[in-house]
Amino acid sequence: MLIAQDLACVRGDRLLFKRVGFELSAGGLLYVLGENGTGKSSLLRMLCGLLMPEQGEIFWQNKKIKENAENYLPNLTYIGHLNGLKDDLTALENLQISARLAGNDVTDKQTLAALSAIGIARCANLPARVLSQGQKRRVALAMLWLTQSQLWILDEPFAALDVAATEVLATRLGEHMANGGMTIITTHQDVAINARNTQTLRLNA
């Protein structure tokens, strides 16, 4: 279970949000909504421990995440708005390295299966440099077919995806929640995702 209590975020000398809190339990989906610049990405980065909250605490299984990173991070998959791909490496190499770094020792076959799940297997051996924006996004998101972690934090996963890929991803997210996973997501698109328990958190400027 992930609990956020009374979070506040300050960037520069501007207060982005304060008193933000929620509880997310197994099978739960949390939409973080808000206009551009209201701090959605900052909130997600905070939940990953990349950004220290100005105020408030985040708990994973009742322990503070910053004191318990060793147990928290293996349970976390974060896909930010940067894809985390190296231009000079192929799609396959990129995905494999990301997965291994996150602690999933994947084989070439598994990596290829993940790429084909999101419909990008034919680009597996192309360097990321030549891929389009949407294709790069797909390579980054193929991680979701390799990870074992329970909590997924996704920043605008549907941005740059076409209709078919959006549907595939939404189905995958539904499966994850059906298996007791949790997802926190920001999006501007209206995509239907199946979850036992859906919450919405709205950030206001």
Binding site: C48, K86, D87, G103
Partner: protein, 234 residues
């Protein structure tokens, strides 16, 4: 049960570390021009001095230790600003921060890759360059030893500077200002070792101190680099 758990943990640490090392070496292999820049810089800078000063062997061999060491420092430094910059802009640095292993541990793999790509070639090339300076054989050997022991310290200390200036405009010059003063001990002991052997003295004391510099930075630099990276990524 407990040992199995420890073993699994050790394996995970090694595997993540090797992943980072292999990735950086593979990237260096795909972008060979970056390695070439460092090497050519070293070759050109150290060849300019004999051309400018003239062919007098006595003068050249007396300035050789200092000049070669300074050239090695500068060559290592020009590649420093690239150490984390690409990872920062493409988001792979965030992945490293979110890896279950400590960042300081993974950073050592990146620094080792940087040394293998930018430090080791300079060490191997140094005796050839040293010939231009009419250095005797034993001094050439000491030069190689001193660079071999000292350049790891340069990569390690440089990584702190690279991490601190991440995302800052004009970071290349800022790294130089931050890092060059910290290179002074390595420069003194490194050049001192070569000079000592030229004067028929033992270079051992200098080399031991140089190794101590490297070991000390091996312990402290990864921690400092990791802390600096966390701040830069915020």
């Amino acid at each position: 049960m407990n040992t199995r758990k420890t073993n699994a943990k050790t394996n995970a640490w090694t595997s993540a570390w090797l992943t980072v090392l292999k990735r950086d070496l593979l990237l260096a292999l795909r972008r060979r021009s970056d390695i070439a820049t460092t090497l050519f810089f070293f070759v050109i800078v150290s060849s300019l001095f004999p051309l400018g000063i003239g062919p007098e062997a006595a003068v050249l061999s007396s300035i050789a230790p200092g000049v070669l060491w300074v050239a090695a420092l500068l060559a290592g430094m020009i590649s420093l600003s690239r150490l984390f910059a690409a990872d920062f802009t493409d988001g792979t640095l965030e992945q490293m921060l979110l890896a279950p292993q400590p960042l300081a541990w993974l950073v050592t793999a990146k620094i080792l890759a940087h040394w293998l790509v930018c430090g080791l070639p300079v060490v191997l090339l140094a005796p050839l360059i040293g010939l231009q300076y009419a250095l005797p054989n034993e001094a050439l050997l000491v030069l190689v030893y001193s660079l071999l022991l000292g350049t790891p310290a340069l990569s390690l200390i440089g990584a702190i500077g690279a991490a601190l200036t991440l995302g800052v405009r004009g970071s290349g010059l800022l790294v130089a200002l931050l890092v060059l003063p910290l290179y002074i001990p390595a420069l003194i002991f490194g050049a001192g070792a070569v000079a000592a052997s030229q004067h028929g003295m033992s270079a051992q004391a200098h080399l031991s101190l140089l190794a101590a510099c490297s070991l000390l930075s091996l312990v402290l630099a990864p921690l400092a680099t990791a802390a600096a990276l966390r701040i830069s990524v915020e």
